[in-house]
């Protein structure tokens, strides 16, 4: 069923910080504060809330309503890591479309205390506790090192290919004030960076940080009455634990649902003006190029070699720098592409604008439970004509 008249607006980013002494509640509170300002609504107008955070314990979304003084009639919790932005958008859109809520605030925020990252790793999942963390405690780096190595063996990807993605994204990030990485990156620097977990080196890995992101979902007529710029939602997909029999992950859930995505959106990959992928590691970006239909399976490396991924390039990609440059603000990383694509399509980018951007695709990926990412999702957004 099409998302008739459902829009996203008021993208918010609370400037990232490497470490924060504040709580996740504080970060989520700032994001919602900025969201109400951007949309021109009062906190009491928020009658729908969907929330993602890794560092909210012992609270859940319910506790947060009282903490923040909100009284929503529709509430959801989206613990999907890097897929949380897409899933939240998808849930919120149907809630608004069906009249369960008028304004659904979609928000993700995490703090990063000095020891948060290690603590998050040790207790991430039961499988992580039983079958991953005791094996060198390399965290997601070690898991993606194996996935990367396998992908390189299978399809002949080289470190230089992944490096090109990182270098181009860094170029995009230089215009983004909240990005953790502020210096240009050269391919030499990428290649010579210190090894983390072979074949991954320093610039293949995101820097954990604190931050929050939010976006508002409502009806188009409501957005118009508020005079807020908005984007139309054309299509979304979502999948969890796809292809469980693949011995190692070489494709994500997108590959199961990609036909439905483009069919529902009524556009094709060649119509897309900018793509925001979930870039926890470059190998996953490469899989998204393939699985979302921008090239065939196994052609990812060649696709990378034949394109320029900067804002002015032949294939504008992760136009705010992606998490590899801005840092990974916990669950907020799952919103980075969504807020950026919304800004680009409404003509209000923080950094450089993609020329004449009409259609954007955004994808998410998350939750390394054992040996692979389990959740995937994607959305196609269109500029309001």
């Amino acid at each position: 069923m099409a998302y008739d008249g459902i829009v996203a607006c008021a993208p918010v980013t609370v400037s990232y910080r490497r470490f924060s002494i504040n709580s996740a509640h504080w970060w989520i509170g700032r994001a919602l504060h900025d969201l109400t300002r951007a949309a021109g609504i009062k906190p009491s107008d928020i009658d729908g809330l969907i929330l993602s955070s890794f560092t909210l314990a012992p609270d859940t979304a319910v506790g947060v309503t009282q903490h923040l003084g909100l009284t929503p009639r529709w509430l959801d919790h989206a613990p999907f890591g890097g897929a949380c932005g897409i899933v939240a958008l998808r849930r919120a859109a149907r809630a608004v479309q069906c009249g369960d809520a008028q304004f659904v605030a979609c928000v993700a925020g995490d703090t990063n205390h000095v020891d948060s990252f290690r603590k998050t790793l040790t207790t991430f999942s039961r499988f992580a506790q039983d079958a991953v963390y005791p094996y060198g405690s390399g965290g997601a780096n070690a898991c993606f090192a194996l996935i990367t190595k396998n992908y390189m063996n299978l399809y002949g990807a080289r470190r230089e290919d992944f490096g090109k993605l990182c270098v181009d994204q860094r170029d995009n990030a230089l215009a983004i004030p909240f990005a953790m990485m502020k210096k240009p990156l050269t391919l030499d620097e990428y290649m010579n960076a210190r090894p983390i977990s072979d074949p991954l080196h320093l610039f293949d890995c995101v820097m954990p940080c604190a931050g929050a992101e939010a976006i508002l979902v409502c009806r188009e007529d409501v957005a118009r009455s508020l005079h807020v710029p908005f984007v139309r939602l054309l299509a979304t997909i979502e999948r969890h634990n796809a292809f469980p029999d693949d011995p190692i992950q070489y494709r994500g859930g997108w590959a199961m649902d990609v036909d439905e995505l483009w069919q529902m959106a009524g556009v094709t990959p060649s119509d897309v003006d900018l793509l925001e992928t979930y870039d926890d590691y470059p190998v996953i970006v490469t899989m998204q190029f393939e699985d979302l239909g921008f090239c065939h399976k196994g052609e990812g490396p060649e696709f990378i070699r034949s394109h320029d991924f900067t804002v002015d390039g032949s294939f504008p990609h992760n136009t705010s720098g992606g998490q590899l440059s801005t840092g990974q603000a916990g669950a907020a990383g799952g919103y980075l592409g969504l807020t950026e694509a919304t800004r680009q399509l409404t003509g209000k980018p923080i950094g450089h604008a993609v020329k004449d951007a009409k259609i954007a695709a955004v994808s998410g990926f998350g939750m390394i439970n054992y040996d692979r990412g389990l959740s995937s999702g994607a959305a196609v957004l269109a500029r309001a004509s």
Binding site: A131, P134, Y135, N141
Partner: protein
Amino acid sequence: MTRPLEPPKRKNPLKKTKQPLYPQSIRSRTAQGLTAAAALGRFELQKCLDCDAVIYPPRDVCPKCLSARVPFVPVRNGGQVLAETTIRTSTDPYFRERTPWRTGLTKLDVGPVVLSHLHGDVREGARVRLDLRLDKGGAPVMIALPDQETQHMADDPQLREMTCDPKFRRALITDGRGAVGQAMAQAFSEAGASIVFVGVADPWKPFPGQDALSKISCVEIVPLDVTDSESVTEQAEQIGGRVDIIVNTAEHVRPGGIMQRHGLTVAREEMDIRYFGLLRLAQAFGPGMRARGADGTNSAAAFVNLLSVHALMNWPQYGGYSAAEAAALSAAQCLRAELRPGGVKVLNVFFGPLETEWFQTVPPPKVAPAALARAVVQALQRGQEELFVGDIAQDIRARLAVNPKALERELG
């Protein structure tokens, strides 16, 4: 190719002893099924009784058919390494001081894909056998070993973190007067221990086998009487800092239950030697061992208790003896928890009647002291926590698992 271990250099007493660390040892209750298998040196995974799927990581429900009947059973451990990585940065203090550390994903022939430690002789794409071991924290972990034995295989640094190999370690055999202690000294010497201290109470009293014992290479006889707190403490002061493995061979086998005996004299002796003897050794040597669990090639590694399998179920014919063994077993479980933070394992070895004078009237099968000693060394080389030696011990264990009440009736 594994580089053979170098004999450890003499320790510089001015240098700080590295404090023991261990990998995260928290596991789900279901994953403790792996602990049970690893403790016995077995390879077991869950298998669905309804659809035969082999399951890993441990689950409470079969991911193929949603059955909840998923017990741990022995399965074939062959597989192929799909991808490997060398971890160079780790958030965990234990691994941080041991990087680079190799891990990989292995596709088992029986189905699941397993993330495991990699032996140094294992390469990406190679055929391997996965083994379940207990790591420094006593938690179960998988390690991929070469399909075929390789040279100096046991010396691999990652593997050696999971074993208590006597090679280049210093052992204390607490009682060398008996056949078991002497066989143990021989086995440790053959396994490459650098010193085998052998305790003898009242060394001026001659005993059978004395000459042969003193001729075993690396054996050093020391005065030690486990019934004398002063003797134990004194010996710990002398050699405590150099004891990496203790094997408590002090035994006291006397027939009889409760009512055949008059008074408590024999029972007191039994408890004094077996229960209090263990406590004396543990109090005198334990703290030092726990502090030296990460002290290089010859770090403290294991405390071995030799126990009658009747510690698990009383044998009324040797009822008093069984009770003292049960007390020693219970203390050993406590000791295991206390030594675990130091990365020191407690190996409990269960056996039936031994081929010794005090079991003279008991019919075979009986366990020869030399066989017991060889089994102990092998279990240490594998890093096991439990060992059942001989047919009687295996039989009792199996019957206990099926129906403890039947076993109790049948023994009495």
